[in-house]
Symmetry: C2
Subunit: 165 residues, 2 copies
């Protein structure tokens, strides 16, 4: 669907900040972005947007179901585009990378358990926290090569951006 149309369907005018933000989520290779991530990426493109606007737009997009808001451990919320099937997440506690997964067995158990408790399920969130494949490998390499003084061998996709908090 055309992007401007997608916006109009939600009663939102097709403004530059909104178009750019949506574009980011559709084309960035990082699917999960925080308000600040979006802010910095737009500044990089010399877009003069305020952080407040980004929060507002993200909120509107989430209400319009264009984006999904996710709250992993910690304080910052991240957003992802709502185009794929429902899924849960594995979050790397070292590089913050987010992987998605889906398991119908777990989904079914959840539904069943809710029913057993007389609970009317509306939403659920499952997140696994740990070390991703890359970080396990890197950590292992480091402990072997011992005294390389923490090379901090890359990995963060949002490269330069200081790991806030």
């Amino acid at each position: 669907m055309e992007i401007p149309q997608q916006l109009r369907d939600s009663g939102l005018k097709a403004t530059l900040p909104r178009l750019k933000i949506l574009e980011l989520f559709q084309h960035s290779n990082v699917r999960h972005l925080s308000a600040e991530d979006v802010y910095r990426l737009l500044l990089k493109e010399n877009l003069d947007v305020g952080l407040a606007t980004i929060y507002r737009v993200l909120m509107q997009f989430a209400e319009a179901k264009i984006l999904l808001r996710r709250q992993f451990e910690g304080d910052r919320a991240v957003f992802e585009i709502n185009a794929t099937e429902h899924h849960d997440h594995m979050v790397c506690v070292e590089c913050d990378k987010v992987e998605e997964f889906f398991d119908s067995a777990i989904e079914e158990r959840q539904t069943l358990l809710a029913k057993q408790h007389g609970f009317k399920l509306r939403d659920h969130s499952l997140s696994l926290y740990g070390l991703c494949k890359d970080c396990v490998a890197r950590d292992h390499a480091q402990s072997s090569a011992s005294r390389l003084q923490q090379p901090h061998l890359a990995a963060r996709m949002m490269s330069k951006l200081p790991k806030h908090k």
Copy 2:
């Protein structure tokens, strides 16, 4: 185990605020409390504690594994005593009540999925959000008895405390 002993084992002196807070978690019929919940409950007992102290104590208890910190949807963290087996939560989006559940099938799938992704699992959190049995019943009663002008029929265990946020 004696409470003061439990504290000393963690290198914490047995002070009044710490004793009272621990006592709260051990004897309150509400297992999940936020810093502010604790604050208000202590004030009710005419305990003159600062909110900052509560945050500090909760943090120390969480580090000492006496309490577990949980972050459900939204911004406030809640704590519960770490005395029972691992479990996950169903959180009522209407009355904020928290129910606990455990399902070994889900646990096993999680472990398996992590392994398949080369992910070194360290922690995980699963929360179901929806309406608890009581709220479903109350909502249903209301829509039948129609115009009773929102009786707000009870339910919140933390009674008088205004629903912060």
